[in-house]
Homo-oligomer: 394 residues x 2
């Protein structure tokens, strides 16, 4: 056989998101793109803020000599300084540029962190439903994923997490605002998690790491504030990107920041930079590093996502769907009105509506709607959602 | 311990290139940047061609809606089509867009290929001296590097390669024009390699893969033509980037192309795309994919590198250094006039000249000069090189 056995096995269990995407392409060929309501992918429909567009235009008009060359593997000092300044203000902790590594998006950042941390057999705890790529990322480095249940409202179940922590546990990976549920973990929840990790670290005689994937960190609604995880636990590593806040997912620009309070923080940074280099990322794209530096406090108009959330959530609940109201990201994760989520997704497909079955996120019996689409796509889909709800008399 | 044991061990044996770079920074602090002759890093000093700058300016002025969004994991269809067209013309083989995957530079591409190919214990043959990152890339996926000697002129030693091939061999990885030697493998050499791999594949009852890293493919001198490896062996995978030909190393844009004649090419492409996604690259940077598409036949003014090669090569040989004359890339790899290459590099440092010892490329007794620098840096360094040569009476 030509390819790796491991990869061959993984290919056989192809991602649900991808499978739905492909079936959707087929539907679009048959019915025309405008007649298909595609909620399968989380691909932001908003354009980047005008400040970014302007910065790109200025730089293209007045290029700086050497602006496309290699820079240190952790990124431009200026960009890391700007981010550290922001982190310092946000957390009150003594961040400086050495605590920040620019990465090829959050996905690149997660791989880099996991390579830096994991040895064969180390476990990483992940609450589910979850973004299933996490499993691949952890297994890339010989780690094992340990899934733990969340509460009915998809908030963290601390006692499940406590039960899961044992000698092989290296880290816990949380994602808030969450993909696929849109749920945001509140201050009390993060505080309790921090306390639990402190307690368990003491018991185990080693420091557990808290990896917080905040790719959707600026997409929050109802005027809530995302808790600053750094404040609640010293061995915290944040990974995030500008894919959603600045609508740059195709450009692969993000960063990893390690708490200045983290054990052996210098060694950790060296390990992360080493992983960034040897996994072949080398450095985050140069041009984008320069553009995002001054935009750490900017974002797309989040109210647009909030309005879509409101529209969609109210419609679906009025049709009888059971939905945890999300406070962030651009996903809804309703309960399927029948047990079989794949059958439900197929039924929605018959109405030319594309969603992803919950089992694609480790949680059968639900389905994910990615609503970073034009409002008219949402509006066009509602009769179909209603018909399906009525068929199953939710 | 906080970080991975594997990574900790690797950190202890930090890269020579990096070590030299850091010592160089120290020298620059002491003597001023303009008084240090830095040949430690292969960071192209030429700016991208004006066609690229213009394309960037046009796109920034007239942005296309959605141009920063996610696209399929293998990249834009338009970009892959443009590259396939070029490959088809160059090789005479029936390439189409499905045989091309856009990657985060050649380093990203190599990691993606190796993940797609390797299982634990598989061997990859690499002729040395070699770019030492290859070892990390291979080991990232449980593979083992099998180094084979080259001839005195750094050309491939086919009988050494033949001896090294055995049941565990999965692939051979060649790099021409070569880093660190600048040597280009000629047609006869590639043809013989292709024949050898066909013979050994038959004997072993499995198809060996030929991975050809052509990051420097357009930086060739003396009007030579780089052999098109695809023509000589069906199971060939090319990885390259636009870091050197378009001077975009910081932007991380390259591609992997698999021969249409490769065994199970569809499965191979699926594996490569899967690896690109799950290693966290997701896709090559969107903006750069768009910019490089129409520039497949363009490059920086290679004559500038050739002139530097001539200047440097003639000066060093006139001082008595023994140097294989390179026909590509922007490196010279002279024999050290004393046995200890680290001592020689330190001696050069005393003249404020930064180079990298040959052991950083698996070949002690030599040293690498990266001359992608301004001409005046080369000129300024020559008296120092001369003094060192005289000291050791080469």
């Amino acid at each position: 056989m030509a390819i790796s056995r491991k990869v061959k096995n993984a290919l056989n269990g192809a991602s649900w998101v991808r499978r739905m995407f492909e079936e959707g392409e087929e539907l679009k060929r048959i019915y025309g793109e405008e007649n298909v309501y595609d909620f399968s992918l989380g691909n932001p429909n908003l354009e980047p803020p005008s400040s970014l567009k302007k910065a790109l235009k200025d730089l293209a008009e007045h290029p700086i000599t050497g602006m496309h060359r290699y820079m240190p593997n952790n990124g431009y000092s200026e960009t890391r300084k700007a981010i550290a300044e922001y982190l310092k203000e946000e957390s009150g902790l003594p961040f400086n540029e050495k605590h920040v590594v620019m990465t090829v998006g959050a996905a690149g950042g997660l791989n880099v962190i996991l390579k830096a941390l994991l040895d064969e057999g180390d476990e990483v705890i992940v609450p589910y439903p979850y973004f299933m790529e996490f499993k691949s990322y952890i297994e890339n480095f010989g780690g094992e994923i340990r899934l733990v249940e969340t509460n009915h409202d998809f908030s963290l179940n601390l006692s499940e997490i406590e039960k899961a922590i044992q000698a092989k546990t290296k880290a816990i990976l949380i994602n808030s605002p969450n993909n696929p549920t849109g749920v945001v973990y509140d201050h009390a929840c993060i505080e309790k998690l921090g306390d639990l990790l402190k307690k368990k670290s003491k018991e185990l005689g080693k420091n557990l790491h808290l990896i917080t994937d905040e790719a959707y960190r600026r997409i929050v609604f109802d005027q809530i504030h995302l808790p600053i995880v750094f404040r609640f636990y010293p061995h915290t590593i944040r990974v995030t990107s500008h894919s959603k806040d600045l609508s740059l997912p195709g450009e692969r620009i993000g960063y990893v920041a390690v708490s200045p309070l983290c054990e052996d923080v210098d060694e950790m940074m060296a390990a992360i930079v080493f992983a960034n280099r040897t996994l072949g990322f080398v450095n985050a794209p140069a041009l984008m590093q320069r553009l995002v530096a001054p935009l750490q406090r900017n974002s797309v108009n989040v109210r647009e996502y909030e309005e879509k959330r409101d529209l969609f959530y109210h419609a679906l609940t009025s049709f009888g769907y059971e939905v945890v109201k999300p406070q962030g990201a651009f996903y809804l994760f309703p309960k399927a009105p029948i047990e079989d989520d794949v059958a439900l997704v197929k039924e929605l497909q018959s109405k030319r509506i594309l969603t992803v079955p919950g089992r694609g996120f480790g949680k059968p019996g639900h389905f994910r709607i990615a609503y970073a689409v034009d409002k008219k796509v949402i509006e066009g889909s509602l009769p179909g959602f209603k018909e399906v709800a009525e068929k199953y008399r939710v």
